[in-house]
Assembly symmetry: D2
Homo-oligomer: 313 residues x 4
C-alpha cells in the first residue's frame, strides 16, 4: 500500500478522531443542504463524506445498507409499497429493489444536487436503481411529502436513511414524535418503519436512545439493533418499529430468514442472513442497561433534542 | 469536556489512524520486553498503551476481559485448575477469580516490570487479584513453563492473553501448532483453551485466520468470536478451542448461560450474559466467507506468520 | 530517534496544525490563570505548553529569550533598573542578569503556581535566577504593580513577556494605549520598553500590527523585529519602543553591538550578536507593506482587540 | 474560514508533522519521476505537493522564487545567458524573465509530465513564461545537458531549483563536487551559480551544510542565505556561489540593490529589495557556528550524502 500524504479527519467526539489516508478527491460540491465530498481512500476505496462525516465506502457500504433494509423487508409477510426517505447514494434503493415482489418504491430526497452527484459518480452504489421502473424519485421535503401526498394505511414499509438531527438541524422534524405518528398512520396494519438511528456503543448512545424512546411512544414493537461498520470505526444503529406484536425481529428464526432470502431476493447478499440477524439484534448487557435509562427523553416538534454532535455520549 | 492538546495516535494500518485526546501521561517505562505508557484519556479514562497499541481503558476494559474469560469458563462443567498466559493488567485474572469454585490459577507473565507497574497503578483493573490466595504468579517464559512445569492432562482451562506475534516477534512461539499441541496435551479431557486472537473485521483478518487455522490442526472444536471495543475503535477477536465435540459455544443456550452465571459467579458481570454470548458467537456472512478461505495458512515453529502489523488485512 | 505514539497538537489557525511527537508529560497543572503542561518532546527536549501553545523548548528557548532581552538592554547606554512583566520560566530573567552592571530586576508575574513549577522543573531555563540577589519577585497583577508601586521616571528598561490578549482575555489591559502611556511615564528619559508581540509573518500579522500601532501612539521610536523559532514552526515578533529618537535599533552598528556584548555581558550568548541584530531588525518588503496598512487599528482599555486567536491573520 | 475535513500531512522529521487543511485536490498524477498533487489549501490557496513535500503555495511562492533568483541576477553586472535546472512550476523562470536585459534562458527539466501539468494548472505561477521567446525548454537530464550541450565559459547565471538528493535519489548527481566543477567550467568569468539548498534552521542543517561544503571545494565565494516560508512552516535555504571575490552578496549595499531593481527589473517584486537582502544574508551566531563544523562532509559522485530525509538534523 502506498504512502499517504492526504488524510480525511473524522471527528467523533471531543478529542476522538479517526484519520483515513486518501489519494485524492474525486468531486466536492456544496449543495443548498450539505457539503458533499467524494474521495478515494487508500484503505476503503471511494468514500462519501457529508459535512465531515463518512456516509459510506465502496468496501463496506453493503453492511450498512443490507442491515437497514432486509430485516424489515423480510419480517413483513409481503411488502409491496415502499417509501424511502433520504438515502441519496442509491444503495438503500438498490437493496429494496432486490425484493422481487415489491411494486413501487417512492424515494424522497430533498437534495437534488446530491442525487445528481450520486447518479454520476456512485454507480457502484446505486447500480442503476434510479432508472428502475418501480422507482419514483421525488425531490421535496420528506415531511411535506408524507403529510400531503401519502394516504393513511397505504404503505407497507417506510425506510428512513436520513442524517441525524444534531443541534436542531434542518432534519430534526423528521425524528419527532409527531412525524413518527404520521408515519404510523400511513403504514398498513402490518406496516413496518425502520430508520438509521445514529451511533450506538456503550460510550455513545444519547441520540439513539432518544430516537428509540420517541418511537416507543407511537409503535407497540420497537427494536434497536446495531452493527460494526469498518469505515465508521464504530458500531452503528438502527431501530425497527412494527405495528403488530407478532411481528418482532427479536423472536425471528434463523432458518426462516435464510429461507425467505432464498425465496424473495434476487441477487446476492454479502452481509445479511439468519446468523447475521441473530448477531445484530442480540444486545449485550451494558447496552440493554443504557437503553433502559432515561426513558423520558423524547423528541417532539416543540422540543427537539438539542444535542451538539460532540456531546452525543 | 475540556479541550485536548495532547493526543495518542493509534496506527492501525497504512493510513488508518485513531487519535485519542489525552490529559497527561501517568507513567511511562521501558521494560526488557516492551514500552508501556499509562495515560489519562479525556474520553476513556486511564488507558494502557504497549508499544503504541491500546491494551485497555478504564471505561471499557470489562468488555474485553469478560469476553475472553467467561465463555470458556462457563462452557466447562466444573473448572478447577486454570492457567493464564500473559494478562499483565490483572483484569483477566480478576474475571477468572469471580468463578467461586476454582481452586488454583497460575498466571505466567514474562514481564516482571509490567506486573509491578500494574500492581502499583492499575488497581481498577486487578482489584487485588494478584494477592488472592488462589493465585500463583510466575515470571517466566510461558512456553518454558508449560513444557517443564505442567503435567499432561492436568489443567481445565488455559487462557492466553498475549500480544500477537507480528513480524515474528518474541511471542510468536506462543502461537504455533507445536505450542497448541502442547496445550492440548496439558488440558484435561474436557479442557478448553481460549485466546485473544487479534483484530477481526471484514477488512482485517489475516492474523486471526492464521491463528484459527492453526488451532484447527489440533483441536476438534474451534470457534471464532468477536466483539466491538470502543477504545480500540474496532471489533476484536478470540478463539475458543475445545477438546470435546459436545462442548461447543455455538450450540449454547441463552437461558442456561444466564443460570450458570447466577450459580457460579460471585460479583457482577457488566457485559457478558446469554444474549451477549449469542451476539459475539454469531458470525455474519462476510466473516464466515473470509474464514473459510486460505485454510492452509498456518503457523508453525519453523514457519511463523511473518506479517507486518500494517499488512494484517 | 524513537517512534512516537503521543503527540502535542499545536493549532495555529483554522486548519493549520503542528504536531510534535512527545515521549511523556512531566507535569500538568491548572493554576487559577492557565493550564500548564511540561512535556518531553522527542525533537525539542523539554517543552513548556500553556493553554495549548508552545511557550519554549529546551533546544531553542535561547533564540526567543536573547532576542527579547538584549537588543533593548544594549541599545540603552547604561541600564540599572529593570522591570520584567511575566516571563514565568525565568529565562528572560536569566538573560537580564547576564548584564553585569544592572542593579535591580523586579519580576512581576501574577501566577505563583506557574513560578513554583518553573522553580522546580525548569532549572535549564532559570539557572537559579530567581535566587539572584538582584532579583525581586512579585506575585501580583502587572498593571496594579506599575500603577501603585513604580514611580515616574524611575526605570531604565521594561520588558513584557506576557501571553497575548486574544479574545479580550485577562491580560488585555497590559496591551492597551493607557497601559503603554503608564509605562512611558515610569521610564527614565532614555528608557526603553520591549515586548513580545505575537506571531508575525506575511500571512499572520493582525495582533502584532495592532500592538505596534498602539505603541506608536505613545512612543516616538517604535521598531518591529522578528525571528524564526524552530519549536514554534514560525517566525515570532517583538516591538522595541524607545523614548529618544537617537536610540534606534534600525541604525545600530554591527561592530558596536559586538563590542558592547564583550564589555557588558557575562556568560555566552548563543543567538544574538551584531549580525543577528541586522537580520532580525531588517524587514522584507512584504512585511513593511503589511505594517503600513490599517494604522488606525489600536488597542484601548475601552476597545480591546477582540480577535479570536484563529483569526489572527 | 470554513471547517476542514481533509488535511495534507507534511512530515518534517520523526514526530514532526505539519497539517494543512485542504478543500479538495485539483489534480494528482504519477509521472515517471514523481508523484505530483495539486490541492486547494484553505489557508494558502493552491498548493503544489511533490512526493509529500510542499513545493509552493499560491499565497507565498513569491518569497521562495524571488529569493532564489534576484540576489544572483542583481549581483552580476549584466547577465545575458541563463540556465535554469528544474523549476517545473515556471515561477523561477517568471522571475528570471523580469530582468529586461537577458537574452536567453534555457530551462532544463526532466519531467515532461510535470511541465505539462504546470502549463495547464499553474498559470498564477508561470504567467505564460514557457511561451516567452527568450525561453528554451528542454526535457532531458540536467547533467547530460550541461555535459554535452553547454560550452565552457558560456553562461552568466546558473540557477538550480531541484529537489534535494535525499537517500541517494535520482537527483544526487546534480549535487556533487564533480557536477559543481562542471558548472564552474560552463560559467563565464563573472558567472554565478545559485541553488535551493534544503531546510536550514538551528535544528536541521546537515543537507544544507554538505551542499555548502561541496561548493566551497570549487567556488571561491560561497554564501548561505535563508528565509522563512509560511507554507513550509520553516526557514528554507539557498547557496550563492560566485567565481569572483569581489562579487560577494555579503558586502552588497542596500541602496545599490534598490537602484538596480529600479533599473533592471520590469514588473514588481513583492519580497526582495535591499533590506530583504540584508535580512536573508545576515546569519545569526548559532547558524554560523553550525556551518563552521564538519567542513569535511562533502558530496561526490562516488560518495553521495546518503541521508534519510528524517535524519536531516
Amino acid at each position: 500500500m502506498e504512502k499517504n500524504y492526504l488524510y480525511f479527519h473524522d471527528v467523533f467526539a471531543a478529542g476522538e478522531e479517526h484519520l483515513h489516508g486518501i489519494k485524492n478527491t474525486i468531486v466536492a460540491i456544496k449543495t443548498p443542504y450539505q457539503f458533499i465530498q467524494l474521495v478515494e481512500s487508500s484503505f476503503f476505496g471511494k468514500m462519501l463524506i457529508i459535512d465531515g462525516d463518512v456516509q459510506s465506502s465502496a468496501k463496506d457500504e453493503y453492511i450498512y445498507h443490507e442491515s437497514l433494509v432486509h430485516p424489515a423487508m423480510l419480517l413483513h409477510p409481503n411488502p409491496k409499497n415502499i417509501i424511502l426517505l433520504g438515502g441519496g447514494e442509491g444503495a438503500t434503493l438498490r437493496e429494496v429493489l432486490k425484493h422481487k415482489d415489491i411494486k413501487k418504491v417512492f424515494m424522497v430526497d430533498i437534495d437534488k444536487d446530491g442525487i445528481d452527484l450520486a447518479k454520476k459518480y456512485l454507480g457502484e452504489w446505486h447500480k442503476g436503481s434510479f432508472e428502475n421502473p418501480k422507482t419514483t424519485l421525488i425531490n421535496t421535503d420528506a415531511r411535506k411529502f408524507i403529510e400531503s401526498q401519502v394516504a393513511s394505511n397505504s404503505t407497507d414499509i417506510i425506510i428512513s436513511d436520513l442524517t441525524e438531527p444534531f443541534e436542531a438541524g434542518p432534519s430534526y422534524k423528521l425524528f419527532t414524535k409527531e412525524f413518527f405518528a404520521l408515519l404510523f398512520d400511513r403504514l398498513t396494519e402490518d406496516g413496518i418503519f425502520v430508520l438509521q438511528a445514529s451511533m450506538l456503543r456503550p460510550v455513545t448512545y444519547r441520540m439513539h436512545r432518544a430516537i428509540r424512546n420517541t418511537l416507543m411512544q407511537i409503535f407497540p414493537v420497537v427494536r434497536s439493533y446495531y452493527v460494526y461498520i469498518p469505515s465508521f470505526d464504530t458500531t452503528w444503529s438502527f431501530v425497527l418499529a412494527s405495528k403488530k406484536y407478532d411481528q418482532d425481529p427479536k423472536t425471528a428464526d434463523i432458518k426462516e430468514i435464510d429461507e425467505k432470502i432464498q425465496k424473495r431476493i434476487e441477487g446476492e447478499l454479502k452481509f445479511y442472513e439468519g446468523e447475521s440477524h441473530m448477531r445484530i439484534f442480540s444486545l449485550p448487557k451494558d447496552i440493554k442497561k443504557i437503553l433502559a435509562e432515561n426513558k423520558e427523553e423524547i423528541i417532539t416538534d416543540s422540543h427537539p433534542l438539542s444535542l451538539p454532535r460532540k456531546e452525543n455520549i
